[in-house]
């Protein structure tokens, strides 16, 4: 994943807000990265662009060697479906769908038939430790369990990249620790994991920390690679 001189400008009323101001970033396959910054620094915008939910105002983004800017909404949707798994701070589960149905969702859009979908969703839920909770609605699950459902959903189409936006932000410390352990495990299995956070402690679990401030990659971005390996 290569971002070259990426800017992102949002119109907000009469003014233009520059969320990103010339970001250059390269992320290799199978890296475990933390994007660290205070709120409003532009870290979520980076994640949206890396996750193909949004496109840069200027600059280029290459994913697996292919240019992303200029793709139409259908092509972006296809990339999100196949290559990227999202985990959000507030889980973003469909409130009226069971855990299993939530996990099946990405497979619906991949055109997989209902029987295979169900089997696959149940297997992945089992992997994240929710074998007994597949029939429950999100409001019947604890925060930690909901985030596990969200992670199962992010994993179900076997994407190579996992993007997590403050995944432990709404969890108590014990559940947060469990979720982080799960991300480390998924990284060990060979996925690229990108964790967006404002918490130094959480960032320190990653191989590399990218600090972002006022829409720019800041000084002090560190490489924890040696420590982790």
């Amino acid at each position: 994943m290569i971002l070259s001189d990426v800017t992102k400008v949002y119109p907000m009323g009469d003014t233009q807000v520059e969320a990103l101001r010339g970001v250059n970033l390269q992320i290799k396959s199978r890296e475990f990265i933390a994007v660290l910054g205070p709120s409003g620094s532009g870290k979520s915008t980076i994640m949206h662009i890396l996750g193909c939910l949004d496109t840069p105002t200027s600059g280029t983004y290459h994913l697996d060697g292919a240019a992303i800017q200029g793709l139409n909404p259908n092509e972006l949707a296809e990339i999100r479906n196949r290559k990227i798994g999202f985990v959000f701070q507030s889980f973003h589960l469909l409130p009226r769908a069971t855990a299993c149905e939530n996990v099946e969702l990405p497979m619906v859009f991949a055109g997989i038939n209902a029987t295979d979908r169900k089997a696959c969703a149940e297997r992945v839920l089992d992997q994240v430790g929710l074998k007994e909770r597949t029939r429950h609605l999100p409001n019947e699950l604890s925060g930690g369990e909901r985030q596990r459902v969200a992670i199962a959903r992010a994993l179900v189409n076997r994407p190579s990249i996992l993007l997590a936006d403050e995944p432990t932000g709404n969890l108590d410390s014990r559940s947060g620790a469990e979720i982080l352990a799960l991300f480390e495990e998924l990284h060990t299995e060979g996925r690229t994991v990108i964790l967006v956070t404002h918490d130094e402690m959480i960032a320190s679990r990653a191989q590399r920390v990218i600090r972002i401030l006022d829409g720019r990659i800041g000084q002090g971005s560190s490489d924890n690679h040696g420590r982790k390996e």
Partner: protein
């Protein structure tokens, strides 16, 4: 998750709003269905009423010549005598049931102490079949023997019978026409009759044409009636009779004024057009109601889209294409409308069942006919419903599909 199951969950959350919208669709479906079915049955009743005068009946009457012919000057009265009915019957087989009729003439009739002034006509036996004047049980129409023997017998229109006899049986009773006794041999079975050339048959007193001729001394019949055996060659039959009568009475066969023709087929075509016009009118009213319901559906679909913006964002984040979202909301709109439509059709068949229970002996109500839920109506209503559902669902669905996923995920 299918559109239907999503809709059912939405229904639970939004019970009142969805139910009201559904009711709107049900009501509109009932209106269009019942109106279309009524249009159809009224059309049928009109055509049946038109046939009440006689199915495919043609009536030929004489007139005054407008051209000199064969040494005769113009303005000569041409009338047809009673025997012409038989001549055509025997000579022109393609004119079925040809017969002559006298009258009407307004005369005094009496029974018991009751006296009235009514229309009397003199007819030949074929008239009964030709004009669908069928006797009620226990009676008969004028027959050949009545004709040959100049019998004083009468066949009463059902309205005349009511006026004269009330609930009493009439057959076998003796009435007086201009103080001459006539035996009642039959009473007409009630029939739907839309048009006539003097008065409707239920208000007539029928006596044998031969008796009429003798009693009133008429030399010419009022008209000769027939039905073309083959409707396809009706024009040719008409021409044959025209030539035949002109040769027989010595006038120009192309003289337009002698030849007074009354063809129920032309009237039937006109009635048919009126019926079609009315059906279109009814259908348009129904369709307009349905469009109003469609606006309601579009409205609730917009609300649905608005309320589920975060979910749309989630779906897009996990790979839903705009087309997936568009399809989902189109299908939801369709499911909503078709569910309402199905309920509406069910309820309509009940309403039509109730309408069929109305006794329609009454003259005005008779033209309601017997409205039924035909396959054609169901198909028409279903296709209009589908069209409206697609139209009502399209704009909300398009809005849903154009949601920006980043914005949608922030929405909450």
């Amino acid at each position: 998750m299918s559109a239907a199951s999503h809709l059912i969950r939405q229904l639970k959350d939004d019970r009142i709003r969805v139910t009201l919208t559904l009711l709107g669709v049900v009501w509109a479906t009932v209106s269009i269905t019942v109106l279309t079915a009524l249009g159809q049955s009224v059309h049928r009743a009109l055509l049946k009423g038109e046939k009440g005068l006689g199915d495919g009946l043609v009536r030929v009457a004489g007139g005054v010549t407008s051209r000199p012919y064969g040494g005769f000057p113009r303005d000569r009265w041409i009338g047809f005598p009673l025997r012409d009915g038989r001549l055509i019957r025997d000579g022109i087989p393609e004119a079925e049931l040809a017969c002559a009729e006298f009258g009407p003439t307004i005369r005094e009739i009496a029974w018991d102490k009751r006296t009235m002034t009514e229309n009397i006509v003199g007819v030949e036996p074929a008239f009964g079949d030709l004009r669908s004047c069928f006797p009620q049980d226990g009676g008969r129409f004028i027959n050949d023997l009545d004709m040959r023997q100049n019998r004083r017998v009468a066949f009463l229109g059902n309205a005349i019978k009511e006026k004269l006899f009330g609930r009493m049986p009439a057959v076998g009773q003796t009435i007086r026409i201009m103080n001459t006794p006539f035996t009642v041999v039959g009473v007409m079975r009630p029939k739907l009759q839309l048009s006539s050339y003097y008065t409707v048959d239920k208000d007539l007193v029928f006596i044998p044409a031969s008796t009429f001729e003798k009693l009133f001394g008429w030399q010419h019949v009022s008209g000769i009636l027939y039905r073309p055996k083959d409707p396809a060659s009706a024009q040719r039959t008409k021409a044959t009779i025209k030539t035949f009568l002109a040769a027989h009475h010595g006038y120009d066969p192309n003289d337009p004024r002698v030849w007074n023709i009354f063809d129920t087929r032309q009237i039937a075509e006109m009635i048919d057009d009126i019926g079609i016009g009315m059906r279109v009118f009814m259908f348009v009213i129904g369709a307009l109601t349905l469009i109003v319901a469609g606006v309601g559906v579009a409205n609730i679909m917009f609300v649905l889209v608005q309320d589920s913006t975060p979910q749309i964002g989630i779906k897009m984040a996990v790979g839903a294409k705009p087309l997936h979202i568009l399809r989902q909301y189109l299908l939801e709109g369709l499911a909503l409308v078709l569910a309402g439509g199905a309920l509406g059709l069910l309820f309509s068949s009940f309403v039509l069942f109730l309408l069929r229970q109305i006794p329609i002996e009454e003259e005005g109500l008779a033209y309601l006919g017997r409205p039924e839920l035909s396959l054609a109506t169901v198909l028409i209503v279903s296709s209009v419903l589908t069209l409206i559902a697609l139209a009502a669902g399209f704009f909300p669905a398009r809005r849903a599909a154009s949601v920006d996923p980043v914005e949608a995920l922030r929405y909450e």
